[in-house]
């Protein structure tokens, strides 16, 4: 188990390094940063001053090392728009995104896993078809449109929930549903397939032959094995929600990092974009790592490799 963890941690560190290089390079590839910062009317002299000030005149590898060195110490530079450090800005916005994505994942799992199990128990029945319909809708509806419909029905028509802002937990309910619904189909289909396969396996027949009650067979013997691929998928979906909540955060006016990234890209606020990119990637890596470890705990066969 220790060996397994060391290996996974090493791989995660490698990925993080690669991502940091890409985050750094992508922005430099998008054009001359000094020119963009200076604006359209700037003189050549102004641009040169800016280049000097931000260290953009140094060779790329030195720029990268400076950025990384500061970043490791918690200094990701200053925003060009807000009078704040990038770190402070992120610290301010991150909790909102985490709450949103966390609730989104809870909603997705809470809906998809039971639906997948029930669909697998009665394949091709009306329950299965209903679940499939819900799933296909989730995949097919454009996220922003579904968000607007939620706002319209639950916010404006029924007046049950707030539709904009992030002051209370209630503000997060509609955005979380809108964000989580998109992940539901994949998780549901995978749970269904996994359960169907496991329920036809020899060890489930053995469990029946042992005279175990149905719920023990379903929830101990079957689900434990069927859930393994779902865990891996869910960790990736969670990562997607952290990074991909731009639309949801914008539609619902939640001050999270997705919203921040979108603002910063449109303002050429490159220290912020870089930092958000790196942060989301790191979250992604940590989530995948956690998913792997959780799987190893669930499936003893994975621990040896």
């Amino acid at each position: 188990m220790l060996n397994f963890m060391t290996k996974r941690l090493f791989v995660a560190a490698l990925v993080a390094f690669t991502v940091s290089v890409i985050a750094f390079s992508l922005l430099r590839l998008s054009g001359d940063l000094a020119t963009m910062i200076a604006g359209e009317d700037a003189s050549a002299q102004d641009i040169e001053i800016i280049r000097e000030q931000y260290g953009l005149n140094k060779p790329y590898h030195l720029q990268y090392l400076d950025w990384l060195g500061d970043g490791v110490q918690g200094d990701l530079g200053e925003s060009m728009f807000y009078p704040e450090e990038v770190t402070a800005l992120i610290k301010d916005r991150l909790p909102n995104t985490l709450t949103l994505a966390g609730l989104g994942v809870l909603f997705a799992m809470g809906l998809a896993i039971p639906m997948g199990v029930i669909a697998a128990l009665r394949p091709d029945s009306w329950v299965d078809r209903t679940a499939l319909t819900i799933a296909v809708l989730g995949q097919a509806l454009p996220g922003f449109w579904f968000a607007l419909m939620l706002m319209f029905v639950f916010g404006l028509f029924l007046r049950w929930l707030p539709i904009s802002g992030n002051e209370t937990l209630a503000h997060f309910i509609l955005p979380a549903i809108s964000l989580g619904y998109y992940s539901t189909p994949a998780v549901m289909r995978l749970t269904r397939t996994g359960m169907l396969e496991v329920l036809n396996s020899d060890y489930i027949r053995t469990a029946h032959a042992k005279g175990l009650p149905t719920f023990v067979i379903l929830f101990k013997h079957a689900l434990r094995n069927a859930i393994i691929p779902v865990v891996a998928l869910s960790s990736v979906q969670f990562g997607n929600m952290l990074g991909g909540s731009v639309v949801t955060e914008t539609v619902f006016q939640i001050q999270g990092i997705g919203h921040l990234a979108w603002e910063s890209i449109s303002r050429n606020d490159f220290p912020v974009v870089q930092a958000v990119l790196l942060l989301v990637a790191c979250f992604y890596i940590v989530l995948v790592l956690l998913g792997d470890l959780l799987n190893a705990w669930l499936d003893p066969r994975l621990r040896v490799t």
Binding site: S201, D202, Y203, R205, T206, A207, H208, A209, K210, G211, L212, P213, V216, K220, H221, R224, N225, L298, D299, P300, R301
Partner: protein, 336 residues
């Protein structure tokens, strides 16, 4: 001796796109307390489905019918799901063909063994654990304590099948059904496992239904034998009767195919049965074996061939009298 299990006209039908499949057709047999019945026959003759039907573990699509499966007086055909579950693993256990996949990969051997006893008996986990250790030692597994914490993938096929056997014994069942328990194992281990099973059957005084096509083992462990062909029992009798004096041409064919220690003479050619098992979709008219039978004549096609009982133990399904078919067989052998 009273019958522990009595199977009356058991049939299994499976609806397929091509038509109704009749893999098991009005099968009759019984097993007494503490005896070993071997069911033999080639692949696809319905012996596995028969055993699954007894446990009510058939695939969902399959339809089970019959006049009764009496287990200690209770009709299992009429038993509710709950009644069946309380018998399974408790008073009747089953060992499957595939030891590699029959244990749950996510739980330890100990967990899977203890759970069966915790389900059916009022015992503490410690008592269940002690019983598991005792039985693992009984089935010849060394370091039983350590094994309890291991997962199935850490064990070889032979060991897993021993674990399956030990697990089946946890509640001290009256009947064990073993469906070709060694088919998936190395040849070197097959006989060991079968003999172990026979030994445990005697020691714990259980009835055993052993489904196999290893006639060498049948000769060593069986009390009685039922031979199945194309969904029907074609011959039944004590092991001595069936091996000394097979009444059905199919049984005779089977016996010439397989060398049996002490029975087959050195230097003689082993036989084979030409042809293939008929398709069991839709009804088959007449004798199921007639296309492959050296003695077949016109009546075999038209008449339906019933199982004829000679006495309580002995029955066969053939139009020819035993004397007539034995005479013909001897004549054919002489002609070769």
């Amino acid at each position: 001796m009273s019958a522990l299990l009595e199977v009356k006209n058991l049939s299994v039908d499976i609806p397929l796109a091509a038509g109704m499949l009749h893999p098991v057709q009005k099968v009759n047999f019984h097993v007494d307390k503490g005896e070993t019945l071997c069911i033999v026959g080639e692949s696809g003759c319905g012996k596995s489905l028969t055993s699954l039907a007894l446990m009510n573990l058939l695939p969902k699509k399959a339809i089970r019918a019959g006049d009764g499966i009496l287990f200690d007086g209770d009709d299992l055909l009429k038993a509710s799901h709950r009644e069946m579950a309380s018998l399974r693993g408790n008073r009747m256990g089953m060992i499957f063909q595939e030891p590699m996949t029959s244990l749950n990969p996510s739980f330890t051997i100990g967990n899977q063994m203890e759970e069966i006893m915790l389900q059916h008996r009022k015992v503490s986990r410690q008592e269940a654990r002690d019983r598991a250790v005792y039985l693992l030692e009984k089935v010849g597994i060394t370091g039983a304590h350590r094994r309890l914490g291991q997962y199935p993938h850490q064990l070889s096929g032979g060991l897993r099948q021993r674990v399956m056997i030990a697990m089946t014994l946890m509640c001290g069942p009256d009947l064990i059904i073993a469906d070709e328990p060694t088919t998936a194992l190395d040849v070197t281990i097959q006989a060991q496992i079968l003999l172990l099973l026979a030994e445990l059957q005697r020691e714990f005084d259980m009835a055993l239904i052993l489904i196999t096509h290893d006639l060498g083992i049948v000769a060593r462990v069986a009390d009685r034998v039922a031979v199945m062909y194309a969904g029907q029992v074609v011959e039944q009798g004590t092991v001595e009767q069936v091996f000394e004096q097979p009444l059905h041409p199919y049984t005779r064919g089977l016996l010439t195919c397989i060398p049996i220690p002490g029975k087959t003479k050195r230097g003689t050619h082993l036989g084979s049965i030409p042809g293939m098992v008929p398709s069991m979709i839709g009804g088959i008219q007449g004798c199921h074996f007639r296309d492959r039978c050296p003695h077949a004549f016109s009546d075999c096609l038209s008449n339906s061939v019933e199982l004829r009982s000679i006495d309580e133990q002995r029955a066969y399904r053939c139009l020819l009298s035993p004397e007539e078919s034995a005479r013909q067989a001897a004549a054919m052998e002489a002609a070769q």
